[in-house]
Symmetry: C2
Subunit: 544 residues, 2 copies
């Protein structure tokens, strides 16, 4: 009887079995006991400088591995991750937030314990609003089942979950549960069949159909299914921005990012002129619709979301994306190959032009040639994200961003998560100066662990996306000599570049430095927008 | 009719009239229109690198000025301040959180707008749990009254409030309201009178009464009332840690900080041996009770909290602290003067001893002599806070900390808020290495504005308070050369000190540098606890 595992041990075991081999976070007294268990388990702790950066790292880890976890203390720790967890919810990333809490025994007389901000239930109530499942592990008789339930929910919904672990329950023996597993979600067979039949017929009749691939394919791990479908049918494919890299972007059928007036002109022409669109895993948010500059006609769309297929104006509920894609894959017949969607690479590329000031479009063009199949691009938000629309990563799932929730400060900590999750890949980080000032010092952890991302700071002296919306002195920020960050901690090699030849030189040196991070502070003009921002401005007929 | 102010303008005007002459925050598209109004108003915008640091700065500003305000964008901005606002709630600091939001018109079809993480109501529901009043200014006919209501609530309860301002309502003309003001809270006259009578009689009969002054006196602005009461009655006074500096700490009646085994030995002896305690504005939280090492007997206590007086085991509800203190002040008679409570300063102080490694107790002793009446001390949490128990600030309200909620990273941004609120004072910041890694780069804003705090980094190589609770590799953090932060941005002069003579030299140079911030990285041994930590360990008879 005394051989049952403790609640903390069970949680660690179930996480490890689910592929979570690292837990991010900052310790604090209400979670210390769990940290001790963690340090004795096969799961490795990755300490960060702050809790919110731990959450961004966990988010990226979850996107790469299917599940991620973090552990923080009560109040001051957990409440510091509310934004990042809400972002994971908005972006459909399954992270497990483990928060310590005052012990059940020490709560009895409702004492004013430090880190408390009101009734003990409030923290759970806050997390109920940004996660898909919560569990407070106060009862050893239900704790194991609760753990199983929330982990299953994270996987099923691809959303964050919250586990609150009172500190006097960590070492408490749990109660073994029957091994009967929780029911898995499934499609309704008749709906699925009818939806596929109708889709096949419409696509068969279409003269110029285009496939638009979205973020849910990423989140449900359907990249290979998509590739197989594309290779078999030769359908031209555009991706949404949040779906970017769901297909390797150098695939011959790939058109680029469709994002209304902000995306690739080729993708826009083909998508908006197609007589039928097959939209798989696409979410119709304002970013992917190019701030509503997209011109899409519901009468010529089949759209499969996570659990529903919509054709024209009718809906097939309870049809799972994975089943729909899988059945399409089985039953779609090849279409005639229409030739490569991507224009042949321009033969000549005259980079660098000595002494020429760096421009954002040339920067991206250079990085496009720099990318190799072992690189993962992590982008922050703002104009570095918009300019990254034109980057073409080699393999699928090599682009990570908070592209819909658009939380500044995502990229540097996400690079930490990505490199821990995929140790054979190298990360290229794109980040603006404003976003870097928010979380860039998380490079400390990256340097400490000997990871080797290359960080490109798009230094355009302020909040430049906002300048295009409404400018004022509030968009100015103090200048940092980002390239000197290595003076504060290291090993970290910093560079600054104002001209193309300087940048070329820095980039090559950074590439050669394989045992520690590099940072290149690229000086850009505040009035040098990305192609996407220019496109949006032209479309709206005014300064955006 | 068209001469009514807009909702945004009315909000700015009411804030300005309430003494809020600065608004902290980071702009974003849903709040940009309000920022434009702000830039055209007499209220000054103070931009920070992150939103949570803006909130800490606002918290400190509110403690100094009675009210503070910040403005952030929806989702990514507002959710980034949840921890700091919960801290302001726990610490009773009246801050106004203004969050932009998607416009009412653009919400109609429930579009997936960026920064959205669920139904639009969720952000309000989260803030309802960490504030005392919320208002969503979606209706121009009620907006002005709503603004008045929440600002009154912030002042009445000394707690944060939340105002959500949809971006298409900023410029909307509001509807003028009757000037009838909201009812102000008041004491029940009979209860007040009876409570004061009973208190006076008990105190009159007491042989060795002691006054314990707490945080609520700070928050209600009753420092002068307290001073007058002490000067009149000669009662010896101890302060709680959260109440620290409610009385200038060099007052002859001042005993020091009472915090059970963790506070001043003199205060502990006098408080625990007193035959009666008059506790004014004291909150019985675990920090102020020295992690429950305090020995207090309800049978010999009169305790006045914000709206209730408790004597022995009976309660007088609806007695406001300010009325109780004021009536005591009127009616208490002088007691015989018992001589100065504070021991005479030791005549000799042999600091610095050349080559002697810095110790935390000697560091505090040196700072005690360094303090001048124009200095405000802002302390972060951890052992720098515990060691600051022994600091004696000159004037009242010259010590700020997150002493109960104990959120790491408070001090540097709070120093920004304090110096903006009280421009004639200079701030001495005490901060640990772990906390500095969380928010220390906010010195960028401080340097940019030409403020001149002196930052002392208590660098004991990790989370040292936690080491005393439960040690493990998770308490280690990467080393930073804090003194070289000025390489990244400036003007900022950095120093490092390992020995007393080095520290002496740095301190004098920092004092002389009056136009920009200074930082001294003080190398301390990880096993060199504050007197408070030693006291706690001795009391608990084990390593704490």
């Amino acid at each position: 009887m005394s051989s049952n595992p403790s609640i903390g041990h069970y949680l660690l075991t179930r996480l490890y079995e689910s592929g979570v081999h690292h837990i991010f976070g900052v310790p604090g007294d209400y979670i210390l006991r769990f940290y001790q268990q963690l340090s004795e388990s096969p799961v490795q702790h990755i300490g960060t400088t702050r809790e919110d950066t731990a959450a961004f790292a966990t988010d990226a880890y979850a996107r790469c591995r299917g599940l991620g976890a973090m552990a923080v203390t009560y109040g001051v720790g957990a409440l510091n991750v509310v934004n990042a967890v809400a972002g994971a919810h908005a972006e459909s990333s399954p992270i497990v937030v483990i928060s310590g809490a005052p012990g059940i025994k020490e709560r009895r007389e409702h004492p004013l314990l430090h880190h408390r901000f009101g009734p003990f239930r409030l923290q759970r109530e806050i997390f109920e609003r940004i996660t898909c499942a919560v569990a407070v592990l106060d009862d050893p008789y239900t704790a194991f089942r609760q753990i199983d339930r929330v982990l299953a929910a994270a996987r099923e919904h691809c959303k964050p979950v919250y586990i609150e672990l009172p500190r006097d329950r960590v070492d408490t023996e749990g109660y073994p549960i029957p091994s009967e597993s929780l029911p898995a979600p499934a499609s309704d067979a008749a709906s699925l069949n009818e939806a596929v039949e109708e889709a096949l017929q419409l696509l068969d009749e279409a003269a110029s159909p285009v496939l638009v691939a979205g973020v849910e394919l990423h989140r449900r791990g359907l990249q290979d299914q998509l590739l197989s479908l594309v290779d078999k049918t030769h359908l031209p494919v555009a991706a949404t921005l949040t779906g970017k890299s769901v297909l390797g972007e150098r695939h011959p059928c790939y058109l680029g990012i469709y994002e209304g007036a902000m995306g690739s002109p080729l993708a826009r022409d083909r998508v908006e002129q197609a007589d039928f669109l097959l939209m798989l895993g696409v979410t119709l948010n304002d970013v992917d619709l190019g701030i509503f500059t997209a011109r899409l006609d519901a009468n010529r769309i089949i759209r499969a979301s996570q659990d529903e297929v919509i054709i024209h104006h009718h809906r097939y509920p309870q049809v799972l994306l994975r089943d729909f894609v899988s059945m399409l894959n089985e039953r779609m017949t090849p279409r005639p190959q229409t030739g490569p969607a991507v224009a042949a690479k321009p033969a000549a590329f005259d980079f660098p032009v000595k002494g020429q000031p760096m421009k954002i479009i040339r920067l991206i063009a250079r990085l496009n040639r720099f990318l190799t199949p072992d690189m993962v691009v992590v982008s922050d938000v703002g104009d570095c994200l918009f300019s990254a629309i034109d980057l073409r990563v080699h393999e699928n799932s090599e682009f990570l961003a908070s592209a819909y929730y658009t939380s500044m400060g995502f990229a540097v900590p996400a690079a930490l998560g990505a490199q821990i999750a995929r140790p054979t890949r190298r990360t290229l980080v794109l980040v603006g100066d404003g976003a870097f000032q928010m979380t860039g010092t998380e490079l400390s952890t990256i340097a400490h662990l000997g990871l080797n991302p290359i960080v490109i700071v798009f230094n355009n002296k302020g909040y430049s996306t906002e300048r295009y919306i409404l400018d004022g002195p509030f968009n100015d920020i103090p200048a940092w000599q980002f390239e000197r960050l290595g003076e504060l901690f290291g090993p970290l090699t910093g560079y600054a570049a104002s001209t193309e030849d300087e940048f070329e030189d820095c980039l090559n040196q950074a590439l050669a430095q394989r045992s520690s991070p590099s940072l290149i502070n690229v000086h850009l003009s505040p009035d040098d927008p990305s192609a996407a921002m220019r496109g949006l401005a032209e479309h709206l007929g005014k300064r955006v």
